[in-house]
Symmetry: C2
Subunit: 403 residues, 2 copies
């Protein structure tokens, strides 16, 4: 099925991303599942590259994820490669899944000269079906031969499943370039959704420093988004720094901020392509007893089907926010609880605000981007989450089409 582009998609389309030194991309149509479209992406990195990553915490994570986690741990500074296919997740495929990963890594090594231990793969698509690795291996020679510095947009398209738009972002900082692509839009029938993110930069820094920056920024970006509370078996973020700019950034706070910017930008784009989404929602929680409590309350609000359907209906139903705070397990002072929609004070000190008018709340809810702020009234910690609404579109995408 072809889905209409999300109404929340970036108005300017895919950004005009400049080449990143030491990085080349290629795509091909292997026919893993889709026909007449590119479904395999290769990213090739020059010697000197270090790789960092973060992965799904799922107990049923897929074979490529387990392989990446293993390889991230012991690294050289040789060349490296990412090989990603869409159409089949290679998840819940037992021993056969591991063999497919091996076969693909060996084929990439053979075609590119990169060591198999430096090939990182991801797969996204249907679960439980054997990955047709032979079809992927058959195009790897072509991929190696056609890789170019300007292929990043094609790469972003090749990894889409039922995303409604390709997702890319970049920042320039002090002579370095940071560019990223992502796929994901919650969970997509008939496939298991997966969020995949690949970021490349020509900055120079040790692997341990890159990993620390990525792990830290992940906490504030990709770990702060939720579409439907469901977690994929395959979520993967890989970051490659080629060092080809010769600009050392280990102690450069501006580089860390620029990297986090790219990650936040891509995280927002994933939420904005949430299945059936019509609203982009930021949930902020303040005056919590701890950061963990703030996060717990924010996630409970963002994942509540009742809150999400109210937002879809443009209904300023703040009672459902009180409910979500109550069930979250976070410590809250019922008699000091406060709620705001944007700058509108809805509730304070445990009851509806005297100044609040339902019409103001209803008018605010008509916006495309909504900010909900909740004060728990017990401490000084804060947290936030980005999410989208829950609409008929979500149910249609996930229930109306048979796999």
């Amino acid at each position: 099925m072809a889905l209409a582009v999300s109404p929340l998609a970036p108005k300017n389309g895919f950004p005009d991303i400049p080449p990143v030194k030491g990085v080349r991309f290629a795509t091909a149509a292997a026919g893993v599942k889709y026909v007449d479209r590119a479904d395999v992406m290769l990213a090739l990195f020059d010697p000197g590259t270090v790789i960092a990553g973060t992965f799904t915490q799922s107990a049923t994570r897929a074979a490529p994820v387990l392989d990446c986690e293993h390889k991230i741990k012991s690294q050289t500074k040789d060349g490296a490669a990412f090989l990603v296919n869409s159409g089949n997740a290679n998840a819940f495929t037992g021993r056969a899944g591991e063999k497919s990963v091996e076969a693909i890594c060996d084929a990439v090594a053979l075609a590119t000269g990169v060591s198999a231990s430096r090939v990182f793969t991801s797969s996204t698509g249907v679960i439980g079906e054997r990955l047709p690795d032979d079809r992927i291996c058959a195009v790897i020679g072509t991929l190696a031969d056609t890789a170019t510095a300007t292929g990043i947009k094609d790469a972003a398209q090749a990894i889409m499943t039922t995303d409604t738009y390709a997702k890319g972002a970049f920042r320039l900082h002090n002579g370095t370039t940071i560019a990223g692509i992502a796929k994901g839009s919650g969970m997509i029938a008939p496939d298991m959704a997966t969020m995949l993110v690949y970021i490349v930069t020509d900055a120079k820094l040790p692997q341990a420093r890159l990993q620390a920056l990525v792990s830290d920024a992940t906490r504030r970006t990709f770990n702060r988004i939720t579409v439907d509370s469901d977690t994929s078996t395959s979520d993967t973020l890989l970051v490659a720094a080629t060092g080809a700019s010769d600009v050392e950034v280990s102690e450069d706070a501006g580089f860390a901020a620029a990297l986090e910017d790219v990650m936040r930008d891509l995280a927002h784009q994933v939420v904005r392509d949430g299945e059936g989404a019509t609203k982009f929602v930021e949930v902020r929680v303040n005056s919590a007893a701890s950061e963990a409590d703030a996060q717990k309350a924010a996630m409970a609000i963002a994942n509540s089907p009742l809150v999400k359907t109210a937002i879809a209906g443009e209904d300023p139903n703040w009672g459902r926010i009180v409910m979500a705070v109550g069930k979250s397990g976070a410590t809250a002072n019922r008699d000091r609880l406060g709620i705001r929609f944007g700058d509108i004070v809805v509730a304070e000190i445990g009851w509806v605000a005297e100044t609040y008018r339902e019409d103001d709340g209803a008018a605010y809810m008509k916006r495309e981007d909504i900010v909900i702020t909740v004060d728990l009234g017990v401490g000084k910690a804060s947290g936030f989450v980005w999410t989208c609404d829950l609409t008929h579109g979500y149910v249609s995408i996930n229930a109306d089409y048979r796999s």
Copy 2:
């Protein structure tokens, strides 16, 4: 709005519940919010009655819940009363909410001679609006005067909000009668949903024993159901034992089982009236490391929007079950995981079963009642949850109508 009766409603309608010795019911139309229907229910208990209860764990629980929790702790064996209104939840109403509870309890005490400390109230309906307690107090005299032993069905109707049918159940055991009513159907626009359950019996047993039986059975009944993972500020279960049958049941395992039967029956009826529900689903989890792990995995499956929409679409999408197990946090052996739909083996030892045919799974999914069994492959503990599917009906009820 008038909703069509749930397709999962009991085929025989409301059961023909016999009177319970020492218990009388009355209802009245107080105009709390609804017009032209009874919206207040009084249950009156003779001296000798003991009361047990379990309540929502929400941190934002409503004033009546806090009052009931307090009163449950110190009890006499005097007469007692339950007073319940629909249309307004008296939740998130600050000090005013507590005063409303006090006013109602005092009015019931005055009209019935029962001590105010023995009056237990519940409220269900809109949140954050001051309860018009004067309208409720105005009908309490009439309620006291008209209470009859046969009014339980009217009582079940008076506490409905947008439930699509009244819920009742009873069991006879060894000269005692156990009868119960419930309301709840997930979360209902424009109101915050609430599950309220009242069970009455003429059996004779000490309060501590009754509370122990109720708490224990709650773990296996009402705490095993979920419609949309959202928890009300007002969920309340109250059980009154009048002792009027003069049958001592403290050591009678059959009574405990009959009580649990009534609770399970009502719990199922609440799920069967889940908003928009078209399927009743039992999720069983076996071979878990602990009972807590089994429950965690079962709840993750039952609350997954992806699993619930797949069931709505009659799609045997077992990959989503693997995903839900993976995200649950329960320990699972990916390579020993097994899944069954009814008796159909879908997956075993970590991959799709050789005997599994997609057509068989699809045919099974067309049933109204569905059993999903998952083996985690790590231990000997089990758990289960009852839930329903997630349909366009749910979104319509919660998003399409403004509050």
